[in-house]
Amino acid sequence: MTKPKRVTLFIQCIVDSCFPAVGEAMVKVLERQGLALDYPANQTCCGQPAFNAGYRDEAARLASHYLDVFEDAEAIVCPSGSCVHMVRHHYMELFAKDPRQLDRARRVAAKTFEFTEFLVEVLGVTDVGATWNGQVTYHDSCHLLRGLGVKDQPRALLSGVRGLTLVEMTRSDECCGFGGTFSAKYPEISEALLETKLANIQATGTGAVVGCDMGCLMHMQGMIRRRELPISVHHIAEILAGEE
């Protein structure tokens, strides 16, 4: 994709309602890249929670809504890998038997990007002029890593941040146990996975974890707060928006 002039924001539901600051941080970073931004006010959710729980008709209705909202955009950027994975992969499954929608979905999916992927792959930047003092470790979200193949992009962006040192944790690519409704339905298992993840984060000695998906991050933060652990949690946009 050639570098677009206008970017349409897709702020997924949990960022919109619980973590608006993450959306704002992304806005700041994109504006610093000289981009004009759009935010269609009638957007909500990509349908992923329904899809993962098995409710495909319901997910398909939201997918159609997404297509209606974003069809005319030049490029769509979202601060969440799993939502982009939903659009890029599962929409094709949802519309497999509907050629007209499938065609629309393909076109929209081709211009929907995860935030770090967009910065590195489309804009070609790894230094966004940010400063952040301290050490962090990075968590690879499952859908971002294995679904979209985004592994190096966030790391490249982090190493472009002045003052920041990235310390890799053991098995950064292992699931944190969020898994959407799974986390509430099977709390014992979900918590066990999360404990392992938090132990790996703590073992780095950095005291800070960065990720690209608010789903995983709110999951981690949920236990960190409950147990009052000394780990701070950051969406990568917040780090990249950091100024001197």
Partner: protein
């Protein structure tokens, strides 16, 4: 076999997550085999993904299974072996019992067969008064303990050597030791006696080869060689899908299998069996039987959405990288097929409603797909199984699991398509959440089915102003988002 109930998943899992020793054992497997498998594939042909070759081979075979099965049967019969196609598990069990009766068998030595667990063969043999002894060390341990295997290729992985020492001391009447070589020697001695006096050998097979008419069994102990050649009759139990068409395909699969299963280029022993002893041969059984077991597999074969699961070569690789399996161990699945492959295969053969936990109790993280030597898309199939539970499915005899959940998602999808409704609801929720207990801003306890989340984790509150609100404000005032 104990605890074989997939409906107990949550209960068993909750117990297993507390089992530190189980985790240590599984972590060893993960670090030694699980995470190395992919590197090993790469060594096979640098710069090229051999999983795709293996996938293509498996697809071709499974798509032409009828022809492949016929060729295999013809070649085995030509060498004097018997072939039986068993439609159900009971049918297969009955056939084995028939052979045992004809040979007046009082002791069976057995090994390397997940399928026999699937069809409950041991129970049936024991009920018929036939002593049945597992010859694979791990399976032997599990059998002595009266348990089910907990890993596809490492059935006794959940035991420490100290526990094995205690078990042997008790059951084999030996002085206690936890020295692995001594323990192995003890088992070997006990097993040799059994093998020398058994009348019948029963084994599984890792794959058969249609072109040559043989069954291949890989092992690292070699006991299976004795179990299959010393008794007077040898019966192989094989799922109808575990076949390679040509020797070339067979080799491709075998190489991937041993890498994925144990991180080995090839296993210590690879046995090729395929018929009774011929006049000029020094050993081998008088009779050879191949029982090809369907037991629900042709139903899977007939569904293009799930056919892929029959590509599985049962290497157990997906177990070793699955964080859920690592946390809960094999017994939680209530089925001989555990981990990600079990979560897809078991519901399809035992009923999707009966196994609803297996379909839902996974995170869809995708690690299993990445390591699978035949690139099976297990997360795709899991998600599809969930959709059958959500809406019901006649073809698979699935009842809708929960009408209320369906209605909730229905209502949610309406609200989410209408921003105004969504905003109105957010306003209400923002007020409502004040009633919930909080600490440092985050919610301590959520009501209803969401309460599972707050069992051990806090939940974020809705922000006073959504991103959309802030953006709208900025449009008006030039400030905000």
């Amino acid at each position: 076999m104990l605890n074989q109930d997939p409906l107990k998943y949550r209960e068993l899992a909750a117990k297993a997550v507390e089992d530190k020793q189980l985790h240590r054992a599984l972590a060893k497997m993960r670090d030694k085999v699980g995470r190395n498998a992919v590197n090993l594939y790469n060594q096979l042909s640098p710069g090229h993904d051999p999983r795709q070759d293996a996938k293509a081979v498996r697809r071709k075979i499974v798509d032409n299974l009828d022809v492949v099965l016929e060729t295999l049967s013809a070649n085995i019969r030509a060498r004097g072996g018997h072939v039986h196609l068993a439609e159900t598990g009971e049918d297969a069990v009955e056939y084995c019992l028939g052979v045992a009766r004809r040979f007046e068998v009082s002791r069976v030595v057995k090994g390397k067969s997940m399928l026999s667990e699937e069809i409950h063969l041991n129970d049936a043999l024991e009920a018929a008064g036939i002593e049945t002894v597992e010859t694979d060390l791990g399976e032997y341990i599990v059998q002595l303990k009266g348990e089910a295997p907990s890993h596809i290729i490492a059935p006794a992985i959940h035991y420490t050597r100290e526990q094995v020492g205690e078990l042997f001391a008790e059951k084999l009447d030996q002085p206690y030791t936890d020295d692995p070589p001594t323990l192995t020697a003890m088992a070997r001695k006990a097993l040799r006696e059994k093998m020398l006096t058994a009348d019948m050998g029963i084994s599984g097979g890792n794959t058969a080869c249609a072109e040559t008419g043989h069954v291949t069994i890989v092992s690292n102990e070699g006991n299976i060689r004795m179990a299959t050649t010393m008794p007077r009759v040898h019966v192989v139990l094989l799922g109808i899908e575990k076949i390679a068409a040509t020797l070339e395909d067979h080799d491709i699969l075998l190489r991937m299998l041993t890498r994925a299963a144990a991180g080995q280029k090839i296993s210590t022993y690879v046995s090729y069996v395929g018929g009774p002893r011929l006049p000029d041969e020094p050993d081998g059984p008088e009779e050879f039987h191949l029982v090809l077991v369907d037991n629900g597999r042709s139903r899977i074969l007939a569904d293009p959405d799930f056919r892929e699961v029959l590509h599985c070569v049962r290497c157990g690789g997906c177990l070793n990288v699955c964080p859920v399996y690592m946390a809960i161990g094999g017994h939680s699945y209530g089925s001989p097929y555990c981990g990600p492959i079990g979560a897809v295969f078991t519901p399809l053969t035992r009923g999707i409603n009966t196994c609803h936990h297996l379909c839902q109790g996974e995170t869809l993280c995708g690690a299993c797909k990445q390591v699978c030597p035949v690139d099976n898309d297990l997360p795709r199939m899991l998600s599809l199984l969930r959709s059958k539970l959500a809406d019901g499915d006649r073809r698979w005899d699935v009842r809708r699991q929960s009408l209320p959940t369906k209605l909730v998602f229905g209502a949610w999808s309406v609200i989410m398509r209408h921003r105004r409704m969504y905003d109105a609801l957010s306003v209400m929720a923002r007020f409502g959440q004040r009633l919930l207990p909080r600490k440092n801003g985050w919610i301590r306890r959520l009501p209803g089915p969401l309460g599972g989340w707050t069992r051990g984790r806090d939940f974020p509150p809705l922000a006073q102003e959504s991103f959309a609100d802030r953006w709208a404000r900025r449009d008006k005032t030039g400030r905000g988002a």
